[in-house]
Symmetry: C2
Subunit: 588 residues, 2 copies
């Protein structure tokens, strides 16, 4: 180190500014320059952005026998709660050795824990998870402090003894219609309104999340530690992707838009029935910091070297995404996603298999893990034709958006030509622009060339604008009913709870949001076993929830588990690593 | 796309091999080549390894008005539980368009959720967290299934109907002393031993972890959902860094070593008192896959362009790390970390401040957030001299390892020359190689040049090998007492629970592990208010735990919270992002 091309002399300022200002005052070098100074060649590390690199352990073999440098440990005397500066001394020492004494030196530090950084030290990581922590802790602190004490803790005095609001507090003040700018100017009434969120614990809709199949966390009791003074509460965990934060990530259009959506997420109500948001909790900005890299889509590639963008991963049934059948997939894509993105598709592909069509025609139940019934392995044109009613309804529903529909028949080796022809005929007569047989699973892109040509033609063929299934300015119930009708339902039945929620969301001014139905993907109806194209049924709405930040209301049609479980033999049994090559093995 | 320099024609094999084999059969292109084909210049994206890149949103401004391409959505008919191939069709279609029809095409996919991937689909992420899920679910499944049913589910038949053990199962068979290689050859007794872990729920030492300050998770009751059939259990969450997985990461020496340590982690006992490991649960390999990138240290830089390696972040008091006072920091570094790494330091720096020395000399209590007492802001040489007994003991304890000790006096603006001289004199007479005043906080590396020179000299000065404080082959109690003596204790007092645990770990054959004391950092003793250099006290051991995989026994001296809480005003209130520049603001 120490050669002039990397070392920068610090512009020393007195008094020492805040760490973040010092950090921002320096333009860091591209990390590859730092690596080069350490004689690391590009194959010794992987870049993670411009200023971080992961050093590969393979470098150890190459430096073997090179002889070790000096090794120094930095400890301290028994510290005060303020810390005596071990880390700063470590870094300062290394800067002296490297930048002033022309020694080759490497500082080794531990990673900070994210939780405390987020809570006390500064920094932001961990917040995606920590919002429920923020909710329960806020309720806890409000239960033990006076309005004035809360205000004083929320607005601590600076060195000159002055108290002030920060940006996120001004968001809440604005929401409360308080235009004052100094804490000391608030009336006792305003102090109470500002400092006391007065969250109604029963109204909290936010659950903690983990990206794990952990069924034992579906329903838990928290706060049983003695320090929590009996503030126990029943709640549960969802799988991370079911978090509204994921839905926000998937629907947002820019960093600024994401900041607003995250801040607007509603976590529950005050006892007075007012919606309490992430910004009321003071966490909206920190959440945005956590998600700032996630918003950038990840570029990857297919086996044939074509580009792939991977972005977000919303929880299917309760989020909007094109997954599953077109009834809940394409519908949400059109009415929620396209509405927010402003992008309009020209063509919709509908994937069908002989197997699924036979099931819809009356074939025996298909169960994952169990061998398929003969009916699915031998030719049965009649069964296929009977099942095409399901395909036909998806086609007409999708065509209603004003896009051309191409049916992709995902061919299996057991499919017969007669069966395939039957599907093609049914698709065309149902209004499909084309229906094409694909063998991409066996042949890669070559097996989907006909589909590619058909989709290209279909896109060129479209002129009309996108037609949504429903406008936003009708009532929540009218929107739900418009979607239910597209399922083939003759009516909708609301539970007492659903009625209550619809009334509340309407009163709170959220009735103009689009609707995201949480319904089984296995039937147009709410009953998974109802195959084909059922009609005349009454769709039951068990409950209605809302993702205000993401921007949709989601009615629950039947029960949806948001926390999967693990089987007796999870596939982690097969997953391991070849410790010599570093290659992952055992992925199915 | 589609130009020959990126497109690779797939070698198509029939029947279609497993996804992982197909994936491994192709050498992916460096992602920068893919980006180039999309006309993305390097400033449009950040590399994340060789095969992934994050596309920066700034690219949107540059392509504005460029005109949109065609936009296609892929849906499906109502699916069977097996899925009809929407994702494969999407990818196949894009490969056809890009690689065969010479169109520019970008596939857009959602990220898979990690939980299910880990549980059912294949894939591995989520496992760090999911081990407790694996424990509870295993107990659950064992409670509802016969030995034979468990065996059959653990070893499902392949296409030919043959059942077999996989690698991780052979680890358990070996541990059980069963040399048979076919499930059908096991005797009923062996089936029970192999398939039934028979975990004693009361003995489970593993808690779930999240990297959040979430005090309400310190003590919780899980399994209250109806599907869990009343299998409720009291447990709690620790902050992630307190997980043994973090300790393993910090102490491991290679990928192969990490695989063994993770597999050897003990999560509790069987009802017969046998230790149950991560490999018994079948999760050791998958955990290693999750940690394979974390093991590579992250290269960063100081403000002055010197290199920094950041790796792991163990939970201070219950893990080994050089943090805190030399009594628990340097001691663990020497006796645990250096023992495993084989690396030996030549010099130990001990950081001291006038502030802390005054506290040890009898100054008033120092409380974070409260203004400092005058005693700390005005000259008081006598107080400093009195406090040097603390520094002196740290120096002699550290010198005992055979390294030379340099004291770094981290100078504050309120320190007087007389006070600084007093420390220097005390340090030298206590046996320090040198004692140097540092002003790095104010002046960066320049302020630590004298320290750098002293440390360099100290390293050159050392010849003797490292001397550990205790050998590994003495009893657990003898090791604990050796460390307690170095604290100044006259003896050690074990709780009944501690006695029980020590006996158990000794019986299980873990008594040769080094010791990692979980003690307050605020005093040599177990009482934080005992400043200076207390002696003659009896050190109470409340409990004794073990991180078998990481490789140490950790006695709990008093209570240690492994899940911090949030204050009334967490600093996330200040954290936000400048949505125009993307810069983080509000970090202190």
């Amino acid at each position: 180190m120490g050669s002039s091309n990397t070392v920068r002399k610090l512009q020393v300022v007195s008094p020492v500014p805040a760490d973040i200002d010092v950090a921002n005052s320096v333009q860091p070098l591209h990390i590859s320059e730092i690596a080069q100074e350490l004689n690391l060649s590009p194959n010794h590390y992987d870049l993670y952005g411009k200023y971080k690199a992961k050093v590969l352990l393979s470098v150890l073999d190459e430096v073997k026998g090179g002889g070790d440098g000096y090794y120094v440990v930095v400890g301290g005397i028994t510290p005060t709660p303020l810390g005596e500066g071990k880390s700063t001394t470590t870094v300062g020492l290394c800067q002296a050795l490297g930048a002033f004494l022309d020694k080759k030196v490497v500082t080794c530090l531990r990673q900070p824990s994210q939780g405390p950084t987020f809570g006390i030290k500064g920094g932001a990581a961990g917040g995606g998870y920590s919002q429920p922590a923020a909710i329960d802790t806020r309720v806890f602190h409000e239960s033990t402090q006076s309005d004035k004490a809360l205000l004083n803790r929320l607005c601590p005095p600076n060195k000159e003894g002055k108290r002030s609001f920060n940006d996120i507090m001004f968001r809440r003040l604005k929401k409360l219609g308080i235009s004052k700018t100094k804490p000391e100017d608030l009336t006792p009434q305003e102090v109470k309104k500002f400092a006391r969120l007065d969250i109604d614990s029963d109204s909290i809709t936010w659950r903690r999340v983990m990206d794990v199949n952990d069924r034992f966390l579906r329903k838990i009791t928290i706060g049983q530690g003695p320090e929590e003074k009996g503030m126990v509460r029943e709640t549960g965990f969802d799988i991370s992707v079911a978090s509204e934060i994921m839905a926000v990530l998937a629907l947002t259009t820019s960093l600024a838009d994401m900041r607003e959506r995250l801040g607007n997420m509603v976590i529950g109500n005050s006892k007075a029935g007012e919606p309490i948001t992430a910004d009321d909790l003071g966490v909206g900005g920190a959440l945005t910091v956590l998600m700032k890299d996630a918003i950038n889509p990840t570029l990857m590639q297919t086996l044939e070297g074509t580009p792939v963008l991977v972005h977000a991963g919303p929880f299917a049934n309760i989020a909007h995404e094109a997954g599953f059948g077109a009834d809940i997939g394409t519908e949400k894509f059109m009415n929620i996603k396209c509405r927010y993105s402003g992008l309009t598709p020209q063509c919709a592909v509908i994937v069908a298999t002989i197997r699924a069509l036979k099931m819809h025609g009356g074939g025996p139940e298909v169960v994952a893990g169990k061998p398929l019934d003969r009916a699915y392995l031998t030719e049965n044109v009649a069964l296929v034709e009977a099942g095409c009613v399901n395909l036909a309804r998806h086609i007409s529903n999708t065509k209603a958006y004003g896009v051309s529909v191409v049916v992709a028949i995902n061919m299996f080796s057991t499919d017969s030509q007669a069966e395939l022809n039957a599907v093609r005929t049914a698709a065309i007569s149902a209004g499909a622009f084309d229906a094409v047989i694909c063998t991409h699973h066996a042949h890669g892109g070559k097996g989907a060339v006909d589909l590619g040509i058909a989709v290209q033609k279909a896109c060129e063929n479209v002129s009309q604008p996108l037609k949504f299934l429903y406008p936003l300015d009708i009532s929540i119930k009218e929107k739900i009913e418009a979607i239910a009708t597209s399922y083939g339902a003759s009516g909708v039945e609301y539970s007492e709870q659903a009625e209550k929620q619809i009334e509340m969301y309407s009163k709170q001014g959220f009735s103009t949001l689009p609707i995201c139905m949480a319904k089984t993907q296995y039937s147009f109806s709410h009953i998974p076993s109802e195959k084909g194209a059922p009609s005349g049924f009454v769709l039951p709405i068990r409950d209605v929830r809302a993702s205000i930040g993401a921007g949709f209301i989601y009615p629950l049609v039947g029960t949806m588990s948001t926390m999967p479980g693990l089987p007796t033999r999870p596939c982690f049994y097969d997953i391991d690593i070849d410790t010599t090559t570093g290659k992952v093995i055992g992925l199915s």
